[in-house]
């Protein structure tokens, strides 16, 4: 438990630094376990308040239960919810059958890009974790993006102690990653410790499957699992050697490296 409080202290510090330095700040919320823990940490950091909007980039292919959950928490926690969508791409019929990287780029990366342009956010808080995949392992807590949203991972700014990159030239923005040091197990341990409401898609409801990671319905697949409580999830994760995102199609080959360079979360 002490390790969870240590992780919490660091994440809260990062969130407060972000709030202090960015006038136009938003937090991405996909309703998945990570960004929901992130949202909870914001409520910790700001004593029950969430003083910035929560942004949901809606691909329209999300599992319907996720939208219900989103709207319920937004009401209960008095969240300022901002939903963005790449309407043009959807109107032109974009879907995963045109290629997964193409679809993710259009609906998520560009959906986010459109939202950023529209609202002029200069700081975006995201729930990515370093243990998810290998390019995220190399991220900074405060990570600059240029005017095209691109990530120059060859030349990242130094990050010394708790001094982060909080100033930046016009037309660029900073991605803030308070969960980098958390593992998938830590997320579930923390959900249990704090009793955070989460989507029951993560649990087996009798048919021997559950989702380990939630994305768009066509590209996320449930895993075989009988874990029906948080405790059972933790137990299962401790015993497995299978990567979390194994059920995510866009991670194949160099998919993530290519996507993230161009501004994917």
């Amino acid at each position: 438990m002490r390790h969870l409080r240590q992780l919490e202290d660091q994440s809260v510090y990062i969130l407060r630094e972000a709030y202090k330095h960015f006038d136009n700040l938003g937090m991405l919320w996909s309703m998945g376990k990570d960004s929901t823990v992130l949202l909870w940490l914001a409520r910790k950091a700001f004593f029950g308040h969430v003083p910035f909007p929560l942004l949901h980039v809606d691909t329209s292919y999300k599992i319907p239960a996720m939208i219900e959950y989103r709207d319920r928490l937004a009401r209960e926690w008095r969240l300022n919810l901002v939903v963005g969508q790449n309407k043009k791409a959807l109107a032109e019929g974009m879907n995963h059958e045109r290629g997964r990287v193409e679809c993710c780029t259009a609906l998520k990366t560009n959906g986010l890009k459109i939202l950023l342009e529209e609202k002029g956010y200069t700081g975006i808080i995201l729930g990515v974790r370093a243990d998810e995949e290998s390019t995220r392992a190399k991220e900074r807590y405060f990570s600059p993006r240029d005017k095209n949203n691109d990530w120059d991972f060859r030349d990242q700014p130094p990050e010394l102690w708790d001094q982060f990159k909080t100033s930046f030239p016009p037309n660029t923005h900073i991605r803030i990653h308070p969960l980098l040091d958390w593992t998938e197990i830590n997320i579930w341990e923390y959900i249990k410790l704090e009793n955070i409401p989460f989507m029951d898609l993560y649990l087996d409801k009798g048919n021997g499957t559950r989702y380990r990671s939630l994305g768009c319905a066509p590209c996320t697949f449930p895993i075989k699992s009988t874990a029906s409580t948080v405790d059972e999830i933790i137990e299962e994760l401790r015993a497995t050697n299978v990567a979390e995102r194994a059920g995510r199609a866009q991670d194949e080959g160099r998919g993530m490296e290519v996507l993230r360079k161009d501004g994917y979360m």
Binding site: R2, H3, R5, Q6, L7, E8, D9, Q10, V12, Y13, R16, E17, Y19, K20, R43, K44, A45, F46, F47, G48, H49, P51, A130, D131, S134, T135, A137, K138, R140, F153, R154, Q156, P157, P158, E159, L160, W161, D162, Q163, F164, K165, S167, F168, P169, L180, D181, T183, N186, E194, E235, R238, A239, N241, V242, A243, R254, E257
Partner: protein, 619 residues
């Protein structure tokens, strides 16, 4: 390797966590060691080895463990780590983040970013190549970054026939180097990352080694921090007012904080009692907190304090000065230049600064060498001994006493470009007055009316407007004009002419006692400011250079805001960086108006009477 796998004990509850960095010169085997550590403990994700095997085959290369974490295409093509990777490793009840740092000189800033996050380090030295430049540089940087626990791994022992003599020579040389930095390695381990000798299992080739394997040595690093046992340092991060509570937040850098504690804010010298510790979803609310925790507190009094102040107990205060000496490493694209100004960020305080002196460039090869050098710049990746001078007083500690409040970064334009540790406080000219002000403030007896109450009542904050410049430039005339304009608006303003002190309060002083005259003037101003008044004053009576006059007064009335106005006949540049400058003004009405506007912009005067002023400074 099956025995190891059984021991991974991933199902064991995690007791603590720790960040470890792997450093050392390029190609000495850091990434290989990391890969090996995971492979031999059975902690790699399923399919990962197969994936790397396929990549190696495709590139026509031998299998490289390094590719497990060198994720970028460029890294694999060039066989070099470019940026640090956080990797997650769990062993014997402890959760590790192992940070693989690049060894290449070109990526030193990435190595530093990785090492700055670590509590302990594995430092690798290639047995065949021996101790290299970068091996020493990394050792030096570890000590500057606060990584005190170091285990040295002499790697590639397979290339020197597992020779004990070769190992002993390298051990001796590197221990001698580290001792100059006051660092004693916990272990020096002979190993071969490629073959797996002494990584996760003891090496039959080196039976002469009686110490631990690399894996065993990890458990020997202590994750207990002594910081909680030190005096309190709580750098203020922000002040929130989301609801009825006014919450001061921050992360405790050292010591403990309890409800009921009398605390002091430095450098403003304000004090108050901690009323509550605020927390979300924790029942019952905590009554104390300690080093490492991000907390929120409320105070018994609504004193106005702001980000950057350091909260402590009165029994152990941080140092306050505008000048300090430091060891600094520079990572900027442009060299560190004595003619440029930078931002120094120390804990949460941010203030403009200059490098007043570059005493020497530290040579990692020759640490103790204290040759006389004349440098005006510090180049990228160099370490230097410098004196830094800030524009406003800063609260800090010596690095040898306190880690977090004893180190700082320099920001050039948009980028953090260097970091340093404070080795010495340099007393500046105002040191004596600052101590006087501090002691007087701690003992100051107040009524029930606070400065904030007065500010609300008068529609402005207590402040001081200082008019400087040559004689007969209309300073007194302007002072009168500003005073009467403001009083007509219903503000509480007073023109304090220093001449008025001369024959009364200063009657016992001689012409030459300028410093004492300023001191008395400053104390009078401090008193009046405590009544909530906005003071306007000329300064010629003191017959001292304007910068000295202003600094001394500022120190004594600190932290009340001081607005400086420079007036001259011709366009002679102001001897200080004044907030406002006027040349031979003819239209004093508009000049007075400009002063009023500046007071409003600074948040000293509320926009309209009766409105609560916007506070940008602490009261």
């Amino acid at each position: 390797m099956d025995t190891c796998k059984a021991e991974t004990a991933a199902t064991v509850d995690i007791r603590d966590r720790m960040n470890i960095v792997i450093v050392g010169s390029v190609d000495h085997g850091k990434s290989t060691l990391l890969g090996r550590l995971y492979a031999d403990t059975g902690t790699l994700p399923e399919g990962k080895v197969e994936k790397i095997q396929a990549i190696c085959k495709q590139q026509g290369k031998e299998f490289e463990y390094a590719f497990l974490f060198d994720a970028f295409l460029e890294e694999q093509q060039q066989g070099v780590t470019i940026d640090t990777a956080r990797t997650f490793f769990q062993w014997a009840g402890r959760q590790y983040i192992i940070i693989d740092a690049p060894g290449h000189k070109e990526f030193l800033k990435n190595m530093i970013s990785g090492a700055a996050r670590a509590e302990a380090a594995l430092l690798l030295i290639d047995a065949l190549e021996g101790v290299k430049d970068q091996s020493k540089r990394h050792g030096l940087l570890l000590s500057m970054l606060g990584v005190k626990q170091v285990t040295v791994v002499v790697n590639k022992m397979d290339l020197v026939d597992y020779s004990q003599e070769t190992f002993a020579l390298i051990e001796k040389e590197y221990r001698a180097f580290l001792s100059q930095l006051d660092v004693t390695p916990q272990f020096v381990i002979p190993a071969s990352a490629k073959r797996g000798d002494n990584i996760a299992t003891p090496s039959p080739q080196m039976a002469w080694h009686t110490g631990p394997t690399v894996l065993e040595s990890l458990a020997q690093f202590s994750s207990e921090s002594e910081q909680a046992e030190q005096p309190l340092r709580f750098p203020l991060q922000d002040v929130y007012k989301f609801d009825a509570r006014r919450i001061l937040t921050g992360r405790i850098a050292s010591g403990r904080l309890k409800v009921g504690d009398q605390v002091i804010f430095s450098p403003s010298n304000k004090s108050a009692v901690v009323q509550t510790l605020e927390a979300f979803n924790i029942e019952p609310p905590p009554t104390q907190a300690q080093a490492g925790q991000s907390v929120g507190i409320t105070l018994d009094e609504q004193i106005f304090v702001e980000r950057g102040e350091i909260v402590s107990h009165e029994s152990s205060l941080p140092l306050v000065s505008t000048t300090f000496r430091a060891n600094l490493f520079w990572l900027g694209r442009r060299p560190l230049d004595m003619d440029k100004s930078y931002l120094v960020r120390l804990a949460t305080h941010e203030v403009e600064c200059r490098v007043a002196a570059i005493h020497r460039i530290v040579d990692a090869d020759n640490l103790s060498l204290d040759q006389h050098q004349t440098n005006t710049v510090v180049k990228r990746n160099e370490v230097a001994d410098v004196t830094i001078q800030t524009k406003a007083p800063l609260a800090f500690d010596l690095y040898s006493d306190f880690e977090t409040t004893g180190r700082f970064v320099l920001v050039d334009d948009y980028d953090v470009s260097g970091g340093g540790i404070i080795t010495e406080m340099v007393a500046d000219r105002e040191e004596t007055l600052r101590i006087e002000a501090r002691q007087r403030d701690f003992a100051w007896v107040t009524g029930d009316v606070t400065l904030a109450d007065r500010a609300k009542h008068y529609g402005h904050r207590a402040a001081l407007v200082l008019l400087i410049g040559p004689d007969t430039t209309g300073k007194t005339f302007l002072a009168k004009k500003v005073e009467s304009t403001l009083v007509a608006e219903g503000r509480h303003v007073y023109m304090l002419d220093p001449e008025n002190l001369r024959r009364g309060l200063d009657a016992d002083l001689q012409e030459g006692d300028a410093r004492e005259m300023i001191r008395r003037y400053g104390e009078v101003a401090r008193l009046l400011i405590d009544t909530g008044v906005l003071l306007i004053s000329t300064t010629n009576s003191f017959r001292l250079p304007a910068d000295q006059t202003v600094e001394a007064i500022r120190t004594l009335v600190h932290p009340a805001p001081v607005l400086t106005v420079y007036m001259s006949q011709e366009t002679t540049p102001s001897p200080i960086e004044a907030d406002l400058s006027f040349t031979g003004p003819e239209d004093f009405t508009s000049t007075a108006h400009a002063v009023l506007t500046a007071l409003k912009e600074k948040g000293i005067i509320a926009e309209t009477i009766g409105n609560q002023p916007v506070f940008q400074f602490s009261i």
